[in-house]
Amino acid sequence: MTASASLPPLLETQGLSKSFGALVVADSIDLTLRPGARHALIGPNGAGKTTFVNLVTGTLQPTAGRILMGGEEVTGLSPEARVRKGVGRTFQINSLFNRLSVLENVAIAVSERDGFAGRIFRARKAERRAFEEAYAILEGIGIGMEALRPVAEIAYGRQRLVEIAIALALKPKVLLLDEPAAGIPSAESHVVLDVVEALPPDIAVLIIEHDMALVFRLASRITVLVQGAILVEGTPQEIAHDPKVKEVYLGEKSH
């Protein structure tokens, strides 16, 4: 599916920059995600891909530039406020609630989204609904049978799916997937691939990934990041035949 150019962008960054002293980790990045976008952000190690995610979610504050969601500036907002505006993310390394069950891991996100996570009394009905919704999400990505197990005890690949389930529970408008298949043997990465392919069609997805096969299958647009700056942006075909990209990637592959 291709993102319709007529719809207003869900996420837009304008000249987004971040530097630590003399070290520039994000260099004037312009990126636009419209509803339904399947956009990949690729680049060699240390290109600043995760930094970009942290800037968008508000974990890091940019040195310059703006972030807009649905045309509204969110640059100064706290990470929590941005989540409420519709940014969801997953982590490159599993970041779960290890002592809670799989279902609770997802339900905790549902209850935050629905705004009753701070409630002590009279939460039973809301709690039941949260569990039901959490279960439905788990079923939807094929791990319903793990719902009652402590999340630390299930297979790593399935923990990666719980990562996605937690983000989905927030009903995000923009979903940032930070290497969703990282740490999974490539023979099994199709499980993650299927889940990503089945994501709700109207949300915008930015996927950071090393696995080129995955990127070319999922993304309709690709941005290549090198040393914090955009090298080139285009369709998978354009990227595949771009000499600059080949150079960067051959260089990367050779060591």
Binding site: T59, F97, L100, A107, E112, I120, F131, R149
Partner: protein, 336 residues
């Protein structure tokens, strides 16, 4: 719960949901604990005075478990709230009215306020800095109580506290009959509240903060606010415990508000088991009975045994006595 590693056929969603909801339902064993505490009243009448003191510490340790065990805030200064409660209850009785429930109420409010105000300072930090700040707050309040002698009695303690009969019917007597039931009842209510809190969405969210702060931020949780609320709630409970101490001993000493008292409560908590609500009910009696017995047997050396027990607990039984019980049960289940 399927923990044996085999893939089981998918339970129906409804079953999973009810199983999850049932996790925090009351179990018969819990009622047994309370029956035992009630039975203690008749079984060991000579221990009633000690019993009420144990109940008070149970409540204090329970409040500590909520912050340390559930929210993961390692504080050394919880005695601040206990002390504020103790003094407030005493001053209320002397200057306002010696109605016991009013004393509990003013103590709860004062301790809760101090909890929230100090939480605004303390909860901005973590780790060593947080420990230092909590410690500093206890010291500041201790010094304040010490130096405001005209109000608090200074190092002589606050004397002349009287307590009107509870509900106008039962007065606190020398043999501790009323005190046993009174403190036991307040502890029961405190436990009931803690039980509900821990099983609520709020309880799960503070566990989430303990388990993974970064993820909680990423799902949009107002982390700072949640911690402040839980800190205030716990301070309120600690204040009520302090008020009970004042009312049952009719006296407030400066020792109510020392680092030593915070330390003792932490010790009781780890002896019983951290983050499991019942740790307080196991750790406080063990510690206080040991203290009672050891101090009689050897008043100079008894802290040595307490220290040794603490070291051994941390080295070999990280989850306290209740953790040991769990391990034994699990081992027997496997052997069977």
């Amino acid at each position: 719960m399927a923990t044996d590693g085999t893939v089981r056929p998918s339970l129906a969603g409804a079953e999973v949901v009810s199983a999850s909801l049932a996790r925090h339902r009351f179990r018969p064993l819990e009622g047994l604990v309370w029956l035992a505490m009630l039975a203690g009243y008749w079984l060991w009448p000579e221990y009633r005075p000690l019993g009420s003191q144990i109940f008070i510490m149970c409540l204090f340790v329970l409040s500590l478990d909520i912050v340390v065990g559930y929210a993961g805030i390692v504080t050394l200064g919880h005695a601040a709230f206990f002390g504020v409660g103790a003094y407030t209850a005493g001053l209320t009785a002397i200057h306002l009215s010696n109605e016991p429930f009013l004393g509990l109420l003013t103590a709860a409010v004062a301790a809760g306020l101090v909890g929230i105000l100090s939480g605004l300072i303390v909860l901005r930090t973590t780790g060593l800095t947080l420990m230092m700040l909590t410690l500093a707050i206890v010291f500041v309040l201790h010094e304040a109580a010490n130096k405001l002698g005209s109000v608090t009695g200074g190092s002589d303690g606050l004397q002349g506290v009287t307590v009107a009969p509870i509900l106008g019917l039962w007065s606190l007597d020398f043999f501790g009959q009323t005190a046993y039931i009174y403190t036991g009842a307040v502890l029961f209510l405190g436990w009931l509240f803690a039980r509900i809190l821990v099983g609520s969405p709020f309880g799960r969210s503070i566990v989430g903060i303990r388990e993974n702060l970064v993820r909680m931020r990423a799902i949009g949780s107002p982390v700072r606010l949640r911690l402040l609320v839980v800190y205030g709630i716990s301070a309120t409970m600690a204040g009520i415990a302090g008020a009970l101490l004042t009312q049952t001993t009719q006296f407030v000493s400066l020792s109510a508000i020392t680092f030593t008292r915070s330390g003792e409560a932490l010790i009781m908590l780890i002896l019983g088991g951290v983050g499991r609500l019942y740790g307080a009910f196991v750790g406080a009696p063990i510690y206080m009975l040991m203290q009672d017995a050891l101090a009689k047997y050897n008043p100079v050396f008894w802290t040595f045994w307490i220290g040794l027990m603490l070291v051994l607990t941390v080295m070999f039984a990280r989850n306290g006595v209740l953790g040991l019980v769990d391990s034994v049960l699990a081992w027997r289940r496997r052997a069977a």
